[in-house]
């Protein structure tokens, strides 16, 4: 413990001595580090972040060195990993899961010259911490539209990871747009309490299928729910999550949300190189290309596909916001008045379901 404190202080001193000068003029070489919550090979969330990391390497070649660590647990272990990275000379560290929020801010306090970028969180306690997120709910709205049109049993499902605003936002957007095109639709939510556990994700999908659910959206990181849906020979469909998951085309995967982090990562590492990096709060969506909608396959009727694509284009153009009033909260109280769009603050702190969802959010 003592030794670590000493090391940290030493690194801090070094950083203060040399970092200050480097800051103004930028730097010739930078090291960008990435922390992943699952294995790169999950073909979902962590895979996409790693694609972003590789794009950084591609863009800057020898000027940038990249390093990463996979399957880092959220919690105390994350702090250890981050400290180690900061000590090993990383100039910018991307922490790519919600659960790293406190660890990121705690370590950032000790290393003021290292830039920290935290994905999907909301805390920026230090000037060297930036946060970034993607408007996944825009993609969820399109999935909800397809789900509402495609379901035969009028039962649609959503596999949640943890009851945090980002996931609840997705559930609400999904449900609202399914309900809009199919008033009889019922939503089933199952919380897996994990980001990555293929067997459990498959079990969750199976439990829903046994309940008659025939469209499943998932908010966990692996392709297991699609593998489970594939066993039904086309009776149940789902969506690629975080990554395209094209192996399950044309069915059960009928479309997907693709997280494209590459442009953001390339831009931010570039700013570290030329010294213009600043602590920012970025929330980009379909418009900026951070959220992409994967190909809608031929398993979806042409008219539904056209409507979904029209919605995508309207969101990209800024003419349609997935949360446009009138929308009531689950308890019937008013949230958004007619024609009002949801402020970002409401979305980022979303802890309620919209009217019509019968499940309850676990406390």
């Amino acid at each position: 413990m003592k030794r670590r404190t000493l090391l940290a202080t030493a690194a801090l001193g070094l950083g203060l001595a040399f970092g200050g000068a480097a800051q103004a003029q930028g730097m010739d070489k930078a090291k960008a580090c990435f922390v992943y919550v699952g294995p790169i090979g999950d073909l979902g969330w962590s895979y996409q972040h790693h694609q972003g990391a590789l794009a950084v390497k591609e863009a800057y070649g020898d000027k940038v060195e990249i390093a990463w660590q996979e399957s880092v647990p959220e919690g105390a272990d994350a702090e250890r990993v981050l400290t180690q990275m900061a000590l090993s000379g990383c100039n910018i560290i991307f922490t790519t899961s919600f659960g790293y929020m406190d660890a990121t801010n705690a370590v950032a306090a000790k290393f003021p010259d290292v830039k920290f970028e935290h994905a999907t969180g909301y805390k920026r306690e230090h000037p060297n911490v930036a946060i970034y997120n993607a408007r996944f709910y825009e993609g969820r709205a399109i999935q909800g539209h397809i789900a509402g049109k495609m379901t035969k049993s009028n039962k649609i499902g959503y596999i949640g990871s943890f009851p945090i605003p980002e996931v609840i936002m997705g559930i609400n957007a999904y449900y609202l747009h399914a309900k809009k095109v199919n008033p009889n639709v019922e939503l089933t939510v199952v919380w897996a309490y994990t980001w990555f556990d293929p067997a459990k994700e498959a079990d969750a999908a199976k439990a829903m299928i046994e309940q008659g659910v025939d469209v499943i959206a998932s908010h966990t990181d692996s392709t297991a729910p699609l593998a489970e849906a594939a066993k039904t020979n086309g009776a149940v469909i789902g969506f690629g999550q975080a990554s395209d998951m094209a192996d399950y085309k044309p069915s059960p995967r009928v479309s997907s949300i693709i997280d494209n982090w590459a442009p953001y990562y390339v831009k931010r590492v570039g700013q570290v190189l030329d010294g213009t990096w600043e602590s920012t709060d970025t929330w980009a969506g379909i418009n900026e290309g951070e959220v992409e909608i994967g190909e809608i396959t031929e398993a979806v009727p042409a008219d539904v596909k056209a409507e979904a694509e029209a919605m995508r284009d309207a969101i990209a153009a800024g003419t349609y916001h997935p949360f446009t009033g009138p929308i009531n909260k689950q308890d019937g109280s008013a949230w958004l008045a007619d024609g009002v769009t949801a402020p970002d603050g409401d979305l980022l702190g979303m802890t309620f379901y919209v009217e019509g969802i019968t499940a309850e959010i676990p406390q």
Binding site: V189, V190, A199, K200, E210, A227
Partner: protein, 310 residues
């Protein structure tokens, strides 16, 4: 008859399927521990079984060969453990943990080109009219052959340990390796055989995950099932039928809570998910405090290395 909108026969059927991987791994580990060896590398052997089974099944197109490949993969990894602990007398706890890390890394390396491939499907055993019997047909007669094989493994291990001479010798080695050695039994050889058997069963359990439960390969696909298997062995106080009970309890509760959620039951599922671990802790506390039979049931030489010179 439905409870909270869940059909019991469907629930029990999925519970049985969900518990196959941990049941296989746990029954194998039980034999290993009854021989006096503590192999904490179950997770590593399972995931090696998962990838080796997957590769074999994809390359040959036969799920049966796939399961054999999985067993071979798990057994091969366990041989490393056997060599290190039985011949080089390495610490069993440390070697077991290292084996898990090694297995996770190695499986990820050799599995790289198999991501996104679908394995040949394993079909339920066609039991004809038996599967149409109400309730029992769905619960008992609608599974694939690995489910029946896992139950047979439990019965086989139980009969072997209880009734056979070889089983008696194995237990003797686990209780007092010095005494067994003095009687002329080859302690190291017997333990090696037990380790390989445990590895093969863990490999089968892993292959069941990648070939049946989640028919695909993904890094880290077993996601901690090996640790649950280890807990079950302790929970079962080293008795085969209790292992079955433990596996159904652990596997069952995870399936039950997901089904309850899917059915929209308003039950705090967090407590339900927690309960198997609480029960394990409870069992451990009772075992370590009581002087009853449960406490005496742990193999006396568990985790101790043997060398003939002592």
């Amino acid at each position: 008859m439905d409870f909270f909108g869940i059909t019991p026969s469907v629930l029990i059927a999925s519970l049985i399927v969900a518990s196959v991987p941990i049941l296989m791994a746990a029954i194998g580990e039980l034999v290993v521990e009854r021989a006096g060896v503590l192999n904490l590398g179950v997770e590593g052997m399972m995931i090696m079984g998962a990838i080796c089974g997957f590769i074999t099944a994809v390359e040959t197109g036969s799920p049966v060969l796939g399961f054999l490949g999985g067993a071979a993969g798990g057994a091969a990894l366990s041989l490393i453990f056997g060599f290190l602990t039985q011949y080089l007398l390495a610490n069993q706890v440390a070697t077991g943990l290292a084996l898990t890390l090694f297995g996770l890394g190695l499986s990820s390396l050799i599995g790289q080109s198999y991501v996104g491939i679908k394995p040949p499907p394993t079909q339920p055993v066609p039991l004809g009219p038996l599967a149409d019997i109400p309730f029992i047909g769905r619960v008992v007669f609608s599974h694939d052959w690995m489910v029946y094989a896992s139950l047979a493994a439990v019965a086989g291990v139980w009969a072997f340990l209880r009734y056979s001479r070889a089983g008696l010798i194995l237990r003797a080695v686990g209780e007092s390796h010095d005494a067994a050695h003095a009687l002329g039994y080859k302690v190291v050889r017997i333990r090696l055989l037990a380790i390989v058997f445990g590895g093969a069963l863990a490999g089968l359990g892993g292959a069941y995950v990648s070939l049946v439960r989640v028919p695909q390969w993904t890094d880290g696909i077993t996601a901690g099932a090996g640790w649950i298997a280890l807990a079950i062995v302790v929970f079962a106080s080293w008795r085969p039928w209790r292992v079955l009970l433990g596996a159904w309890l652990f596997g069952g509760i995870s399936v039950l809570q997901l089904n309850l959620q899917a059915a929209g039951a308003r039950i705090p599922v967090e407590y339900l998910s927690m309960s198997p671990y609480l029960i394990t802790i409870l069992v451990l506390v009772i075992m370590s405090s009581g002087r009853g039979r449960a406490a005496l049931n742990a193999p006396a030489a568990l985790g101790q290395n043997f060398h003939a010179s002592r």
